[in-house]
Amino acid sequence: MQPPTHFLDGALGAAAMLDGTVLFLPAEFASRVQFGWTISVHILFAALSIGLAPFIIYFTWKDIRTGSERYARLRSFWLKVFAVGFVMGTVTGIPMSFQFGTNFPGFSALAGELIGGPLAFEAKMAFFLEAVFLGVLLFGREKVSDRTYFLSSVLTGFGAWLSGFWILVVNAWMQTPQGYEMITRNGMEVAKLTDPIAAFFTPRMTWMYVHMINASVISVALLVAGVAAYIVWKKRDAKAWHTALKIAVLLLIVAAPLQAVHGDAYGRHVEDTQPQKFAAMEAHYETGTADLHLFAIPTSPDAIMNPSEENLFAISLPRVGSFLASGGDFDAVVKGLDEYEQNPPVPLVFWSFRIMVGLGFLFIGLAFWGGYLIYRDRLSDSSLYLRAMIAASPLGYAALLTGWYVTEIGRQPWVVQGELKTGEAVSSTLSSTEATLSLAAFVVIYIGLVVAALYTLRWLIEDELDELGAEPAPDDHWYGPIPGVTSDD
């Protein structure tokens, strides 16, 4: 048995090649960081569109049906956010599809037959739909009938959900590939499509789609709730925003528990199909019976970089890991990480998973707290709740990103599970200089993009407060000291 090697060891060990005075990264390492970084930014905007779609549709419908000022206000505010997010999603999405060719040509050449179809359907069915009808939604209010206008909102939202579907067909295939056979074409090993249904509806597909869509809805509901709470905090009688807060909380009450229940079952599916990834999620090194760690707290700094049974204070269910993996046998042997030649970076996967699950439970708590306040009809009066929701507004995104890190980093060293290693997918003609240059450009430009998006949100909120006639009250910070129990709580 070989000592387990760390997937990143080689990359990090070689990470610094000194060339003259400039530091260049190895092409493979730079490509992977670049892909991970760019998709992390893209997914923020994609999830914004997916999660905001139901809000936009609802506000548009209510606006048209009731003609009430309240919904018109909410529709126009969130449509502006949607528009900015959509543009950012578009401009960051195109680099994603290009990188399949520029950085991972081995992947596109091997899997082209399997992934090309879904990606082309995504462009033709979803992107065109979304782009065309968003044009109508943003600029056509006066030019089309109410009906066409409402339909445009539905089609735009449907486009966002559909593009999520097709891209996840691709990603799910990479996790649990099937419906193909390996052949040689032009002297290269390539995957040939043999069964489209099997290839599109892989075992992972439905798990991923439900979990991702629901995650986007949760993230955006938290964002909407946070913005609403902030505006209410600044301007207590902003009626429209009471409504927005309530709708977001109601949505959370449904979506947050669903995510945990679904995630639990999803975990068992991962254990069945990708045991190595599951072992990394649980830091299960040695083959044998496995416990299930519900919570884990590092007991020494070492645990952060190298979590294992010894240095964690964990609340664990003894042998439940075995029980779950085998479907009922507490003594079942679960393969540990030391059985594999190459492993994913365990700490990243282990801690990412814990952050996601921990946040998931936090959201359930926030949702139920909000439910209780709605029941007592005090949702918009509780300062403490408003402040908690403001603070929680970015956390959905944190859970969403960490969840993806579990999925993608946990799959390493494979890019197509069991078929193609990431190292083999990377371009052989790519030089360190090129890869480092492009990585640096993407880092700088995308940070600028995210900052610009955040400023835009801030300006929109300020404009909204101006219109509502909120008094600027400089010392009244929502993040001020947490009060004891005050009369309004």
Binding site: V91, G116, K192
Partner: protein, 338 residues
């Protein structure tokens, strides 16, 4: 093996399906450089406008349509990946910095106008304007270099590739000017006409220089094809469309000018197709020549993409008709008129 659509597994739906797909991909390329071309043109011409009202008018023209136009690029790329995956991966891997530089230019072009309207602050708006103009000029240039490097296989840093880039910039300025002339009021249209004529002359001159260079150096062995009958026909038609466009513009028949202007990028993609075929990727450092026949995916995959993809493509063309119908009126600074 489940095969729900009863598609043939070992034979193409029709024998020439690979060639048909080559044609469809070239059609998507043409749609892209025609439609996003006039968006690029609007962006470049924006630099010539000092007046705020004019600028707003140009942005109003650009706003509702650019994003849908840009999707043709994705359609082109993903269909190339679906039908000829090796070509996709080699085209992009061989031209790494050009390809990524291009998508970053698109990024600046896209976010500039979107962010500009969020803030009434002069230096902010100036920065956004730069992003819009710079991205609009750089994107067609780099895309042209990419196409030149593909067709002439002499690398991106070569005269033929760079001249192709310059050509695409010029032709985008032509279509942008014609589009604006046809859609705005007389004052602006007159200026657009003059700029458009200038750009047409530059484009035709650029084409002449490019062809001279290619024929003399026989870059990528394409000289023979250019001098063949179809090659001469395409070049000849371009000259006719260009000069005809100038005449129409001078007579202020802007709609007719727009039609002739749109013919220019269309002919350019026809030239790309002609120079490539029957190869689809020339021999480069990354491997041997690929032809349509050798690079195409297996029958089942292509049949599936055909059966699921073609009907959708027809629907997409209908959407475009709808979109351009909604925004067909003349443009004013406040948006589209009725």
């Amino acid at each position: 093996m489940t095969n729900p659509l009863l598609l043939p597994v070992d034979t193409y739906l029709v024998d020439s399906l690979p060639e048909i797909w080559f044609g469809v991909i070239m059609f998507a390329l043409a749609m892209y450089i025609v439609l996003d071309g006039f968006d690029f043109g609007i962006g470049m011409l924006y630099a010539t406008r000092e007046d705020d009202h004019d600028r707003e008018t140009l942005l109003a023209a650009f706003g509702p349509i650019w994003d849908a136009n840009e999707v043709w690029l994705i359609a082109f790329g993903t269909m190339l990946l679906a039908a000829f995956p090796d070509v996709y991966s080699r085209l992009l891997a061989d031209n790494y910095l050009i390809a990524l530089g291009f998508v970053l230019a698109l990024l600046f072009r896209g976010v500039g106008p979107e962010l500009r309207e969020q803030r009434e602050d002069e230096s902010w708006q100036r920065a956004c304007d730069w992003s819009f103009v710079g991205g609009s000029a750089l994107a067609p240039f780099l895309f042209g270099v990419l196409a030149g490097s593909w067709v002439f296989s002499v690398g991106a840093v070569s005269l033929p590739a760079i001249l192709t880039g310059v050509g695409l910039v010029a032709v985008s300025a032509v279509t942008g000017a014609a589009f604006l002339a046809a859609k705005t009021g007389p004052a602006l249209a007159g200026e657009m006409r003059d700029l458009g004529i200038l750009a047409t002359v530059a484009y035709l001159a650029g084409v002449v220089v490019l062809l001279a260079v290619v024929i003399v150096t026989d870059a990528g062995g394409t000289a023979g094809t250019i001098l063949s009958i179809p090659g001469i026909a395409i070049v000849g038609l371009s000259v006719v469309a260009g000069l005809g466009g100038i005449v129409l513009a001078l007579r202020d028949s802007y709609r007719a000018w727009l039609v002739s202007a749109l013919a220019l990028p269309t002919l350019l993609s026809a030239l790309v197709a002609l120079l490539l075929y029957p190869a689809i990727y020339p021999a480069t450092a990354s491997g041997a020549e690929l032809t349509v026949e050798t690079a195409v995916v297996s029958p089942l995959a292509l049949n599936l993409t055909t059966v699921l993809g073609f009907p959708v493509l027809v629907v997409v063309l209908w959407y475009f008709k709808f979109l351009y119908g909604v925004f067909s009126g003349p443009i004013e600074a406040e948006g589209y008129g009725a």
